[in-house]
């Protein structure tokens, strides 16, 4: 980093960078000593937290980064941040592994024709890059160079635009594979604004989703998951009802009260049928909307019967939904806005917008004015024209940062050809190698967002600050600084007015400071901003959004008469579009629905499988518009007959060691619109590295449900659940041979609300990060040796097909079977009821794991290691286990200890919520609650008195300290009008 910026930075934060430049102190204690006068916020052995913002996807969740001895070891949600309110998704948690990605560029360099990488100094790199540009500029061919970035917001975006203008380049293209363009386009038509609307779901009373997986990947999953769980919470009287139309029982659909099976291409018909049926009971007749006439005419054209048959819906089911819609006062209708999920996303989006408009109050829940910044990503048309320009050699230089079209935009394969032919040069500014950057001849690697300055503006009014939370891991520089440096080399003087990007950033914030008219000086405010993690104003009153026009689209695309199966490719919880594929944590995170790790699969319905003689794990050849691929078939009822589903994000060719050789790239197969494919079974099988031993729970009642009506009745009666709590009073002399034992002050326990758990798996990754849980790789997962301490068990139940998620972790039983069988006391009961596992004492008999009815103990089959610099992420507070030792969830005992140290001296006990384990901390829906069961007022104690409370395998009388709350189920007839 430029020294000046450094100094600015130091003033503000005090030497975080340099501290980390001295490296990872806890790796070798000696390094700790040289701090002659330790900087104020890097106290060796003590963690310091920095507020910043997540840039793993465009949702822009607020972060708190935990810095220990100069390196970030944990990311957590920023509780103050309006988007994620302290929670974080699996990908956000795994942001660290992006920072410590062993396959990142170590520093600038260049590639010769044969693709051999040669390291350069920044000086050389800059001059080479400058030369490239100069060449064009001097010839006045600036527009032959185009700058392609990922979706940028805030200052960085400003800078890039300025930069492009200044150098008069061909333009700035912000490429975002999941741009939800159809939504914006439809919003343009209906509401008159090009925007991806934002929904306040919690206020709705009915949610209808046409394939929008808003609980796993859609736009801003963490926020929407939170709002959804609020929408669901029965406490506020009425419990919202959620209907999901779609071809696949996705993780989101699994949480719906009702799943209506519709083929991908037919989702628009389902929506249209609903619109036709509900149009007449539209509210607010007074102001007839423009285009109403057209719309009525259009609807006339369709017979409900034809629509239903096209959509393949059962009439009574449809009418049930229709009645719900009719009755509801504030329904929200969502649609996927992804052509890989719905080839006619545009139409579906348009209809769903119109459907929302039908209810006055609904319009208050839709925020178009403050829509998602993702709408500003490059439109498909722009991308295509860029592609044409490249083909027609109008463009000779492409600077790429954080965009990977070659992987996720099949049309951009032309790039490779152009580069090979030599009429296109690429300069890579991305921090990691990917399919696109690997084409570039010159590489000036930008820093990871955790090493750099920026600000993020996911929605107008929300400005999250991004600040370096540690020094650079490798010899990289912030994108802004790189651009500024380049300008300086091209144009004499200081054209953009700043030597370093943080200066530029600060100036921009100065202007905010002025326009917001905040009292007091800037510096204090700025410090405040840095502490808070940004600045945001909640809309005083969300203004009702106006309907511009409801006239139907000019062209209503006809059903393409493709034969064979319809292919559906969905973004995944782990990798989204594929950007997370080189993160071992995410690779080993079992897919919520299939529980498969390390690889991709093709979901096919048992009927079809039988018809084609395809067995599970059998490889099939998939022929489609987009090409051909071999992929193992996963025979499952998760996808409907006639439809094949596959996850996106796998099948990288050059994206690092962990992504290598994992699965198939779905993007290549489903080019938009025409997503019909044919499949050919092959006489070959590939084992899935799945972690589930069984699809169903065989009626064992591990994951239980409860009828809403019964629940409300029980609650009103004040019924108490029958539990064997891990407390002395629970020892019944009639059935317990053992005397009760006391705990001192605390009895730690956890409550898991199955009604809130959506199965996203964020907790798993959070636990990995916090507890140094080893990643074992595909081979060992196949042998059943995964190490995760917490797992989300997925159980299917048929007729009607539904899914139950059951987070399973050590239950810290009060009479834990694992303890007494150990010959050396390695596991034993702490005074606070924890089931401690003493690694040093363990000799590896594995009897404890054998005798654990929950099978949550994990044995170190080998000494697992992490390729550098991934090891820098290890949490110094937690032992790294060696081979031959048993391990398991510890309720994050290190956090309990830390909390106790914190309050040492203030003569008091820990208050409820002062200790939160990593899993509970990150849960977007607060499904996990942790606390002290001995305090009758603690949340866990109160929840354990809820009629929904039960214990998994409670009959074994092990008195587990993890108490589950039954999932609530709304009976159809209760909802029926």
């Amino acid at each position: 980093m430029p020294s000046l910026g450094r100094r600015h930075f130091l003033k503000l934060l005090g030497l975080v960078g340099s501290a980390s430049l001295t490296g990872c102190s806890s790796e070798s204690p000696r390094r700790l000593i040289p701090y002659l006068n330790p900087p104020k916020d890097v106290v060796p052995g003590k963690a310091s937290w920095y507020a910043t913002t997540c840039m793993e996807c465009q949702a822009g969740c607020g972060l708190w980064a935990r810095n220990r001895d100069g390196r970030v070891v944990k990311l957590e949600g920023n509780p103050a941040h309006p988007v994620n309110r302290g929670a974080l998704c699996a990908r956000g948690q795994a942001g660290l592994q992006g920072l410590y990605d062993p396959d990142r560029f170590r520093g600038p360099g260049e590639k010769d024709g044969s693709g051999v990488f040669r390291a350069l100094s920044w000086e050389e790199a800059f001059s080479k890059a400058a030369m490239e540009l100069k060449g064009l500029l001097s010839r006045g061919e600036g527009e032959r160079a185009v700058f392609m970035t990922g979706l940028l917001t805030g200052s960085l975006r400003d800078l890039c635009i300025k930069w492009v203008e200044k150098l008069a380049l061909g333009g700035l293209v912000m490429y975002e594979p999941l741009s939800y363009e159809p939504l914006a386009q439809a919003a343009q038509k209906v509401f008159g604004t090009w925007a991806v609307p934002h929904y306040s779901m919690e206020k709705a009373d009915l949610i209808i989703s046409f394939g929008a997986d808003f609980l796993s990947t859609w736009i801003s999953p963490v926020e929407y998951a939170r709002r959804f769980s609020e929408f669901r919470t029965p406490e506020e009287g009425k419990r919202g009802f959620f209907v999901f139309f779609g071809p696949r029982l996705s993780q989101t659909a699994a949480n719906a009260d009702m799943w209506l099976q519709v083929r991908p291409g037919a989702q628009r018909y389902a929506a249209l049928a609903l619109l036709k049926a509900s149009w007449k009971d539209k509210e607010g007749e007074k102001a007839p909307w423009p285009g109403s006439a057209h719309l009525e005419a259009f609807l006339e054209k369709w017979e409900e019967e034809t629509l239903l048959s096209k959509a393949g819906l059962k009439r009574e089911e449809f009418h049930f939904v229709r009645k719900l819609f009719q009755r509801s006062r504030r329904p929200i209708v969502l649609s996927s806005g992804l052509e890989t999920v719905d080839p006619h996303a545009h139409e579906t989006a348009w209809i769903s917008h119109v459907l929302c408009s039908l209810k006055k109050e609904s319009l208050e829940l839709i925020d178009v004015g403050r829509g998602w910044s993702v709408a500003s990503a490059a439109k498909r048309s722009e991308l295509l024209s860029l592609r044409d320009k490249i083909e027609s050699k109008e463009i000779s230089l492409l600077l790429v940062h954080g965009a990977n079209p070659v992987f996720s935009f099949p049309e951009f394969e032309v790039l490779e050809e152009a580069v090979r032919k030599g009429h296109l040069k690429l300069i890579g500014l991305s921090s990691t190698e990917d399919e696109t950057t690997s084409l570039s001849s010159l590489i000036l690697p930008a820093s990871n967002f955790l090493e750099d300055w920026a600000d993020v503006e996911p929605r107008p009014g929300i400005r999250g600050i991004v600040q370096p939370v540690m020094g650079t891991v490798f010899d990289t520089r912030g994108l802004g600084d790189v651009l500024l440096e380049l300008t300086r080399r091209l144009i004499p003087g200081d054209p953009l007015g700043h030597y370093s990007f943080d200066g530029f950033l600060k100036e921009r914030w100065k202007s905010f400071h002025e326009e917001l008219g905040i009292p007091g000086g800037f510096d204090s405010w700025w410090a405040e901003i840095l502490r808070r993690g940004g600045q945001w104003v909640e809309p005083s009153s969300s203004k009702r959004c106006e309907v511009a026009s409801v006239s139907p689209p000019m062209e209503w695309a006809s059903d393409e008469g493709g034969q064979g199966f319809e292919l559906l490719a969905y973004p995944t919880v782990q990798f989204l579009d594929g950007r997370g594929a080189n993160r071992p944590w995410l690779q080993e995170l079992p897919d919520p629905m299939t529980q498969i790790t390390w690889g991709s699969w093709l979901e096919i319905h048992p009927q079809d499988a039988e018809r084609l003689g395809i067995s599970n794990e059998q490889v099939v050849v998939l022929k489609g518009f987009g090409g051909e691929a071999e992929i193992p078939a996963y025979v499952t009822p998760l996808t409907i007959p006639g439809v094949l589903s596959m996850p996106l994000g796998q099948g990288h060719t050059s994206f690092g060691r962990f992504a290598k050789g994992c699965g198939v790239n779905g993007w290549k197969l489903c080019s938009r619109g025409a997503n019909h494919v044919s499949i050919q079974p092959r006489a070959l099988k590939v084992k899935f590295a799945n972690t589930d031993g069984s699809l169903s729970q065989h009626g064992r009642g591990l994951a239980q449900g409860m009828d809403l009506g019964e629940y409300q009745e029980a609650k009103s009666k004040g019924q108490l659940p029958k539990l064997r709590l891990p407390l002395p009073e629970a020892y019944d002399p009639k059935e317990d041979f053992y005397p009760p034992h006391k705990h001192n002050l605390y009895r730690w326990a956890m409550v898991v609300d199955l009604d809130r758990c959506i199965g996203c798996g964020a907790c798993v990754i959070a636990c990995n990060a916090e507890n140094n849980v080893a990643i074992v790789g595909r081979e060992l997962v196949l042998q059943g040796r995964e190490m995760q301490w917490i797992r989300i068990e997925r159980y299917l139940e048929d007729h009607p097909l539904k899914v139950r998620f059951l987070p399973m972790l050590c239950q810290h039983c009060d009479a834990a079977p694992c303890e007494s069988v150990c010959p050396v006391y390695a596991p034993h009961h702490s005074a606070e009821g924890l089931n401690n596992q003493v690694y040093n004492r363990c000799i590896g008999t594995r009897f404890c794991s054998q005798n654990c009815p929950y099978k949550v103990r994990r044995f170190n089959w080998f000494t697992f290691t992490r390729p550098k610099p991934l090891h820098l992420q290890l949490n110094p507070d937690v032992t790294v286990r060696q081979k031959g030792v048993m391990e398991k969830c510890s309720f994050c005992v290190q956090r309990i200890v830390e909390a106790k140290n914190r309050i040492r001296g203030e003569r008091r006990t820990l208050r409820d919520g002062e200790v939160i384990p990593a899993c509970a901390q990150t849960c977007p829906t607060e499904a996990l609650v942790f606390g002290n069961l001995m305090d009758p007022e603690s949340r866990v104690a109160r929840l354990s008195r809820d009629p929904r409370a039960y214990q998994v395998l409670g009959h074994l009388n092990t008195k587990p300290a993890v108490i589950y709350l039954r999932r609530l189920e709304t009976r159809r007839e209760d909802m029926a009008p």
Binding site: P733, K734, E735, F737, Y738, N957
Partner: protein
């Protein structure tokens, strides 16, 4: 004198009938069941023991053969008594009034008593044939019948013995499950059957020890049942004491360690809750502790009266043990239902046994003279005490290995 047993039976019947007429019939039925299972163990056990001795060529215990065989006479009455139990199953077995889900078919009165009577009947018949053969053989021998038929009868005994052995093992298990374990239809212990038939053999031996003490001086068998026989009998009793203790502990430890309510409830009720825990301690002492310590001593084993006394303690302990298995499940919380009524019923059963025994012994030769092993051992008696206890093939603890 002759009528004493009859009087006893009448007394027993009377006190029992009063009981079932009384306010708490289940209590009467309880004590009825206790004695029933107790004597069933003894009678079936005795004859089975003879069978085991036959199989293992144990010649030392031959003089006791007939005393043990005598119990066959009681078996038919046991059959009848079990049949009578049917009348009381409603007040005994909770499952007959509240069927247990999943077990309705197995725990169904008619089927249950049907199969149990079948089992007892089978055991009775086989025992009868066995005893018949051995008695006949002796009579023929005494009447100087031809050797060949005597041999033949011995061969038959050798063939019948294993049959009875197997039948005993399986049959007694079934009876244990049905008559005792199902009193608490939710409780299971896989070893329970084995535990019951081991206890049966144990008490049978004790009973035999008592008998041999009573009659070892009697005219005719005098001198045949000598110190060495008592010594071996004592050792055998000791062995069974250990095995019974082992079986008890094997069950108890496993259930204690698992602490799974569906298993523990039954045990805790009996060993850890008032008033039963006191009974449990008495049982432990009577059936295991005292005999264990006593039988360690060689002298005691050699002396008929002392051994007889120890055997009585064992019998008392085993009776209480059955009592503890049955009664706590049959209503009767609060205090221990052990009053004159129970004594009466017990006396009744005892008298029945005595009557049958007497009736049988009056009609048969007291010594198994027709038994080749008896000849081999007692035919040529070289009064050398070493020889007696000494190096001869065959085993006196055959029963133990067979356990």
């Amino acid at each position: 004198m002759k009528l004493l047993p009859l009087a006893g039976i009448v007394l027993g019947a009377a006190s029992f009938l009063l009981g079932i007429r009384g306010e708490d019939p289940s209590r009467a039925w309880g004590s009825y069941l206790v004695n029933l299972v107790f004597w069933m163990g003894i009678c079936m056990g005795s004859v089975t023991w003879v069978a085991i001795m036959n199989m293992t060529n144990a010649s030392w215990g031959r003089p006791l053969k007939r005393l043990a065989e005598a119990q066959v006479a009681t078996m038919p009455f046991l059959w009848i008594l079990v049949a009578l139990l049917y009348a009381g199953h409603r007040s005994l077995y909770i499952w007959s009034t509240h069927p247990v889900h999943g077990k309705e078919r197995w725990l169904e009165a008619d089927f249950l008593f049907g199969r149990d009577l079948l089992v007892i009947g089978a055991m009775t018949l086989v025992s009868y044939f066995l005893v018949h053969q051995s008695v006949r053989a002796d009579e023929e021998k005494l009447l100087g019948g031809d050797e060949t038929s005597v041999r033949l009868r011995w061969r038959r005994q050798i063939l019948l013995s294993p049959v009875l052995g197997i039948l005993y093992g399986v049959g007694m298990s079934v009876l244990a499950w049905d008559l005792i374990m199902s009193l608490d239809p939710h409780w299971v212990s896989t070893l329970f059957g084995g535990y019951y038939f081991m206890g049966g053999l144990y008490s049978a031996l004790a009973w035999l020890a008592v008998l041999s003490f009573l009659f070892h001086r009697r005219e005719g068998i005098q001198g045949k049942i000598d110190g060495s026989v008592f010594h071996d009998l004592g050792k055998l009793l000791f062995a069974f004491c250990l095995v019974t203790g082992d079986f008890f502990y094997s069950q108890f430890l496993v259930i204690w360690y698992g602490n799974i309510p569906e298993e523990t409830k039954y045990v805790i009720l009996r060993v850890k809750t008032e008033p039963w825990n006191s009974v449990a301690w008495v049982v432990l002492a009577g059936a295991f502790g005292i005999p264990f310590l006593a039988l360690l001593s060689r002298k005691l084993k050699m002396s008929p009266p002392l051994l007889g006394a120890t055997a009585l303690v064992v019998l008392g302990g085993m009776w209480l043990e059955r009592f503890l298995l049955v009664v706590p499940s049959v209503g009767a919380r609060g205090q221990i239902p052990l009053g004159w009524a129970e004594v009466g019923v017990a006396v009744g059963f005892l008298s029945l046994e005595i009557m049958c025994f007497r009736w049988f012994m009056e009609r048969v030769p007291w010594l198994p003279v027709g038994d080749p092993l008896f000849e081999k051992r007692w035919g040529s008696l070289s009064g050398d005490p070493l020889e007696v206890s000494g190096h001869l093939p065959g085993s006196n603890k055959g029963g133990k290995v067979r356990g």
